[in-house]
């Protein structure tokens, strides 16, 4: 458990952030300029807060009250910077070993670095650099890993190439991670807990599925990015049709492509704008996925859209419809309706393992 309480004045900007991060991956999400990087810098010891307290498993790294302030060297925190910051005059091997050689063989194997060891950083691609930076941080045997938008500088194919490494890392290495990002797909795939920041303050936080499926989250992440995240299990593979059937508490969803093996857990994000609502079970529809749901919330936004919170079994879904439709359908809390999800709406970037 990491507990963060940081107050810091930076020019006209006031950082005043409090949150708790349980083990697992905690994503700090917010627009650029919301103070995300300042928070992780404070945790790393690169930025000294004016007041507050930062603890890991009860041990204070910084505590204004008792005048505790550990130097970065004493914190045992691995930091993967957005720009990797590999030492340009050292080979990959020397970069990796700079902070220690903890679990070296496995880190090199998990991150696929065997072929890169003798290279200089200038000869690495952006994705390779981030993998080396991550390996270097892990080999210093950190008690916490900070990742500041490690994929922001990469194009979509590079991201797709590196994300599976991150997922494997999350599942295999028992180090809690604070992951700064402004990309909802990344957050949905990797994070277990989500902290949303705005103008230096935490606006909402909690388990990623709960936070992202709340209608209140829509204005925070933007209407296009909003959408529920649910954990499903592979229940069937329809080889002839090239579809995978996923089961969750609210029913079954079919997605294109063959994902994973039977029984495997797959986490999917269902964008709110791709969920259609119907008052009656529709017939003769091309969409494969029709789920009975109960309305839990109807939230008016500033624009023409309305965010509708839905319960499907024990999971929460989120739909975004126009205000006009909401009025015409007389949507109200407690109503039993149907959610229609087009199978192709869930893109590959929204599917994690």
């Amino acid at each position: 458990m990491i507990s963060v309480d940081v107050k810091k004045r930076l020019g006209a900007f006031q950082l005043d952030t409090q949150f708790e991060a349980p083990n697992g991956v905690t994503a700090i999400f917010g627009r650029s300029g919301s103070g995300k990087t300042s928070v992780v810098n404070a945790v790393a010891g690169l930025l000294r807060p004016d007041a507050g307290r930062i603890t890991i498993a009860g041990t204070a790294l910084f505590d204004q009250a008792s005048k505790t302030y550990l130097a970065p060297q004493q914190r045992r925190i691995g930091y993967v910077f957005q720009d990797a910051r590999l030492f340009p005059h050292m080979t990959v091997m020397r970069n990796l070993g700079y902070g220690g050689t903890h679990d070296a063989a496995r880190v090199i194997e998990v991150l696929g670095l065997e072929q890169l060891l003798d290279r200089m950083p200038a000869r690495l691609s952006g994705g390779e650099r981030q993998r080396v930076a991550l390996g270097r941080a892990l080999m210093s045997d950190p008690q916490l890993l900070l990742m500041d938008e490690p994929l922001a500088a990469l194009d979509a194919p590079r991201k797709a190439e590196i994300l599976p490494f991150f997922e494997r890392l999350r599942d295999e290495v028992q180090v809690p991670i604070l992951y700064v990002s402004h990309d909802v797909s990344e957050v949905a795939r990797l994070a277990t807990t989500l902290v949303i920041m705005e103008k230096g303050r935490v606006t909402t936080s909690g388990p990623v599925g709960t936070v992202l499926s709340r209608p209140e989250t829509v204005p925070l992440v933007g209407p296009r990015a909003a959408g529920a995240v649910i954990e499903t299990k592979v229940a069937g593979r329809l080889l002839d049709d090239g579809l995978t059937e996923l089961a969750f508490s609210g029913g079954r969803i079919m997605l294109p492509g063959l994902l994973g093996v039977l029984g495997q857990t797959v986490r999917i994000r269902i964008p709110a704008q791709d969920v259609i609502l119907a008052k009656h079970r529709p017939a003769d529809l091309s969409a494969l996925n029709v789920l009975p749901v109960t309305i839990t919330q109807v939230a008016q936004g500033k624009g023409p859209g309305v965010a509708v919170g839905l319960r499907a079994g024990e999971d929460q879904l989120l739909a975004r419809v126009t205000r006009r439709s909401a009025l015409r359908m007389e949507l109200a809390v407690g109503q039993q309706i149907y959610a229609i999800i087009k199978a192709t709406a869930v893109g590959p970037e929204d599917i994690g393992t």
């Binding site: 914190r75 045992r76 930091y79 720009d83 910051r85 030492f87 700079y98 902070g99």
Partner: protein, 232 residues
């Protein structure tokens, strides 16, 4: 050409090399430290320090030489102290020539080394700190290797400047053959005597060779550094 160089000229050449070399070795640690402070630290009086360091670059060399004479002469406050306490004498000695050369070359060295420090991303030092490296280890393994091209450039530039220093040297320690007569002061002395043109031409050629050599060596070093950073 070589025949035109008499023993007196050879003495001047060797003395010039010794003066420039000693001046560089003595000035280098201080230049690196000042350059680091100017590049990285903010403190009251930073501009003043910057000004003092650059003063020899803009002052007439004769004025610098005169100030050295006043401060480091036998009766000067610093010169007297150093003479009595450590037995180091500058006035009219080759050590004085080295001091003058070091002072005159200092601004050029600091400028080049400072540029080197400014080119090192402090983010790399932060990264090293999060990996547990002590400040000394960061300096030794990250900062210094990356600033080395700047240090080399500054040293070679300073060496060339020290070889050619004239005004401050002749004012401070005169041109005593075998003690303080360097290549430039020797050339100047020979110019006062009719019929010594062959020796003058020879010393001029030697000067050009030394200067070109320094430039080529610095180019070669810079290229090797770049190769190492971008290497395979």
């Amino acid at each position: 050409m070589i025949e035109a160089l008499g023993p007196e000229e050879w003495t001047a050449i060797l003395l010039s090399l010794r003066v420039a070399l000693v001046a560089m070795l003595a000035a280098l640690p201080l230049a690196v430290w000042i350059a680091y402070v100017l590049a990285r630290k903010t403190f009251p009086g930073r501009q003043l320090l910057n000004g003092v360091v650059h003063l020899p670059l803009v002052l007439p060399p004769v004025v610098t030489g005169y100030l050295l004479l006043v401060l480091f002469g036998q009766q000067g406050p610093l010169g007297g102290f150093l003479d009595q306490t450590f037995g180091i004498t500058f006035a009219f000695r080759w050590t004085g020539a080295a001091l003058a050369a070091a002072v005159m070359a200092f601004p050029l060295m600091v400028r080049a080394i400072r540029l080197g420090f400014e080119a090192v991303d402090p983010g790399l030092e932060q990264a090293a700190a999060t990996l547990g490296a002590s400040r000394w280890r960061i300096w030794r393994t990250v900062t210094l290797p990356l600033v080395l091209p700047g240090i080399l450039a500054g040293t070679i530039l300073g060496f060339a400047k020290a070889l050619g220093e004239f005004g401050a040297t002749i004012t401070f320690v005169a041109a005593i053959p075998g003690e303080t007569q360097t290549i430039p002061t020797a050339i100047y002395g020979l110019l006062q005597v009719p019929g010594r043109e062959p020796a003058i031409v020879s010393l001029v050629i030697v000067s050009i060779i030394l200067a070109m050599g320094a430039l080529l060596v610095s180019e070669w070093l810079a290229r090797r550094m770049a190769q190492r950073l971008g290497g395979t």
